[in-house]
Amino acid sequence: MDLETRAHLKETVRRFVRERLVPLERKVEEDDAVPAEVRAELKRLGLFGLTIPAEYGGLGVDMATDVEIAFELGWTSPAFRSVMGTNIGIGSQGIVIDGTPEQKKKWLPKLASGEIVGSFALTEPDIGSDAASVKTRAVKRGDRYVVNGTKRFITNAPYANVFTLMARTDPSDPGAGGVSAFIVAADSKGIRLGKADAKMGQRGTKTCDVFFEDVEVPAENIIGGREGQGFKTAMKVLDRGRIHISGICVGTAERLIHESVGYAVNRKQFGKPIADFQLIQAMLADSRTEASAARALVLETAGRYDRGERTTMDAACCKYFASEMVGRVADRAVQIHGGAGYMAETAVEHFYRDVRLFRIYEGTSQIQQLVIAREMRRAFEG
């Protein structure tokens, strides 16, 4: 993408986030919901189609543009990004990356416009980091599959029109090879939603259990048209998603630093601004340095992704470093704010709770460490 258009996209999202979304953060915290009119505005802005190819009605931005926009979206409460987060990421990318032409034509234009919301159903009550051990079963009967199982913590499930569902099609293979990815319409008979999860932070985002009871799925809805590819698809989806989430972490760190500097300059103790004190300065400098390092890592990895290089390790490095970084930055931001930082009136209070999830979802920090080490060994051993 040319630099002028990229800058224009970034600037527009930046303005929208700062003028329109930031003033609503408190309301989202209090209502635990994103206002309906904001959902409509996000749709009009075209953000749902950010990563869906232009031929299917999306923007099809490259990774470098994707992360620049993530930097801007990260500036505000994660609930806003979550509105279209699954359409940008895990809820659409399975079809984008591995879908058949028919599947793409059928689903992607509606996902791009935001007419439908996509959701990604991998995690189960007994299956988290051990993602290859999916227990949900899909049994072939004629030209359909019959699905039974329970999915847990499914982001945007209450709004979802379509799920990318991971289910075991081959019970003789208990590992990754027995898993297939399906496109399942949310209004299929036999799908039931649990009650919305009560969470520590990220208020306004909706997750819940999804129960599949004898749900019939047409055989042509297997992503890519072949059994046994589901886990591979899921890993490719997560690879790209990790770079995007890292961009979000950087954006949130920037916001926390902005809040911290603002508070440190205005708050007076012992007759002068606390920004005059070196122990405060040390915290600000540490946060700035770490956020800049994460930004550089994310931009470098996005560039390599766009050049078609293998970035599995780098994406894991990004997710690991950026999510842990924003955790430390949020902790310092509360510390700089002192007692005020513990109060719900300040933005840093909810960001402190919000960012905790970044170290857990779409692969915990520990899983990222394993991926990084595995890739290092693979490169060495050939």
């Binding site: 002028e4 258009t5 224009h8 996209l9 527009t12 929208f16 075209g46 189609g49 923007l59």
Partner: protein, 249 residues
């Protein structure tokens, strides 16, 4: 009906303005620029006329250095159909801009020119009025509401202490006030499409206008900094200071 929307590239409204050390102007190096907010309202109004099937084409025009094309591109992303860039590095004052616009109006034959009432950098508030004078067209300035019907335009104007409603024959000049509308954010797909829209380039020479400034800026100064207040101990002291120092009574 064709609508012409002149737009100016100015320092972004959120930037803290700094005056150059030699007081010849404001600091523009590495400063974020954006479309003049009043002009953004003008673009929005033109698009609403288009959406209401009153306007059939919107032409955005900007004048100045190469970077003006970015500002035109913003208007195109919002919904303008094409752009005109009058390239010049000369400092443009309202009279020169009005003359250049007059030349463009002669070529384009718009029925309506909608423009910001003033630019937030120099606050001149002159260009629209001068253009109306040069063209001999009616003008509705400081518009807070527009209605078009049967070759005429009704403009509600914000004036001191109230509103004035005027009826103008077309073609006409309208300048926009803050409350006319809330400009939209360009959608991301439209930003991508704007890249393919046409921006025609021309120069003051091609338009037969000498843009040389008529006014000389002597100096530019920052507003006087507010001095800190004082605390008074008694009502009597306050009354005394109000009377003798502030001289309010």
């Amino acid at each position: 009906m064709k609508v012409l929307v002149p737009i100016k590239r100015v320092v972004d409204a959120n930037v803290k303005i700094r005056v150059k050390a030699d007081k010849t102007g404001v600091e523009l190096a590495n400063v974020k620029m954006a479309m003049n907010p009043f002009d953004e309202i003008a673009v929005e109004e033109a698009i609403r006329l288009f959406e209401a099937k009153v306007a059939t084409e919107i032409v955005a025009v900007s004048m100045g250095g190469q970077a003006c094309q970015e500002t035109i591109r913003t208007a195109l992303a919002m919904g303008a159909d094409r752009g005109i860039h009058v390239k010049t590095d000369v400092e443009l004052q309202p009279l020169a801009v009005a003359k250049l616009l007059k030349a463009i109006v002669a070529k384009e034959n718009p029925q309506l020119v909608i423009m910001g009432k003033q630019a937030i950098d120099d606050d001149c508030n002159q260009t629209g009025q001068m253009l109306a004078g040069l063209l001999g067209w009616p003008q509705g300035t400081f518009a807070s509401k527009l209605a078009l019907a049967a070759g005429k335009i009704t403009v509600t104007r914000e004036i001191d202490g109230g509103l004035e409603t005027v009826l103008l024959d077309l073609p006409a000049i309208v300048t926009t006030d803050l409350r006319l509308n809330q400009p939209r954010y360009a959608s991301l797909p439209n930003i991508m499409k704007a890249k393919k829209k046409l921006i025609a380039e021309t120069t003051p020479a091609e338009l037969g206008v000498d843009p040389a400034p008529r006014l000389t800026t002597l100096k530019v100064e920052e507003p006087v900094k507010r001095k800190g207040g004082v605390k008074v101990k008694t009502v009597q002291e306050l009354v005394d200071k109000l009377h003798n120092e502030a001289k309010v009574f």
